[in-house]
């Protein structure tokens, strides 16, 4: 009879526990990729909607979407990102976003939507990096 503290049995049970948690956290990397893609779309669309009524509706849609996403995320029981990881990528994303939208875009890029999309890709990099980090952890 295999005892509870048999090392092989303990390792096997621990492996199963880890696998179950990784499976339940599999929502996170796709969510981060989605967040990155939405960042690119939002920044790419800014030259077209700035200073217009469409811009207000656009902003409202973004805020409502962000709120819904936050509400859904906060209900997940397995969170592949610790608070420290979350703050790290959010801070990097927020700084890039502020610099891009407040300075680089209006001053340097003008109305070139292709360049705004490229800039959006740079701003999205912290989110994609976080998706890659969590994805690697889930594959272990």
């Amino acid at each position: 009879m295999i005892e509870d503290d048999d090392p092989r049995e303990m390792l096997a049970r621990a492996e199963r526990a880890g696998d179950d948690v990784r499976r339940r956290g599999a929502w996170y990397p796709p969510m981060m990729v989605g967040f990155g893609l939405v960042t690119i779309i939002i920044i790419g669309a800014l030259p077209a909607v700035r200073g217009t009524w469409d811009g207000l509706l656009f902003t409202l849609a973004v805020v409502v979407g962000a709120g819904l996403l936050y509400r859904w995320k906060s209900r997940q029981e397995i969170r592949p990102a610790s608070r420290a990881h979350t703050w790290r990528w959010v801070a990097a994303w927020a700084i890039l976003y502020a610099v891009a939208v407040a300075w680089v875009g209006p001053v340097v890029l003008g109305d070139r939507m292709d360049l705004w999309l490229l800039m959006g890709t740079v701003v999205a990099l912290p989110a994609f990096a976080e998706a890659a980090r969590a994805g690697r952890r889930n594959r272990r």
């Binding site: 090392p7 199963r16 948690v21 592949p80 990102a81 610790s82």
Partner: protein, 106 residues
């Protein structure tokens, strides 16, 4: 040559605690209810093991709310991650040796 079982950490070397740490090592943080479902243990047993690991400095416990519902979140500390990795290696070394003596921590 000292047997590897002397390197086993008694604070981790209970099957439920070891599995709990394995679950936490696989994620950033996990909800108490999710861990109870994964480990298939009662609330009181999980709470008991949680406290042991928290007192050892291996686990952080954070309380919060989602809507009106209170939630308890657990995560491994850096010390906990290192201790778990070392314990895993030691157990693997013992498991790899079919002539290994029993793993009771004495």
């Amino acid at each position: 040559m000292s047997h590897p079982r002397h390197s086993l950490d008694p604070r981790i070397h209970a099957p439920v605690r070891f599995s709990l740490m394995a679950a936490l090592a696989a994620t950033g943080e996990a909800d108490f209810k999710a861990l109870r479902e994964t480990l298939e243990v009662s609330e009181s047993l999980l709470s008991q093991h949680m406290r042991v690991l928290e007192e050892a400095g291996y686990v952080d416990i954070r309380k919060g709310f989602v809507g009106k519902r209170a939630r308890t979140w657990l995560s491994l500390t850096p010390e906990g991650q290192a201790a778990f990795a070392a314990h895993w290696e030691t157990l693997s070394a013992i498991a790899a040796n079919p002539l290994a003596a029993p793993t009771t921590t004495d």
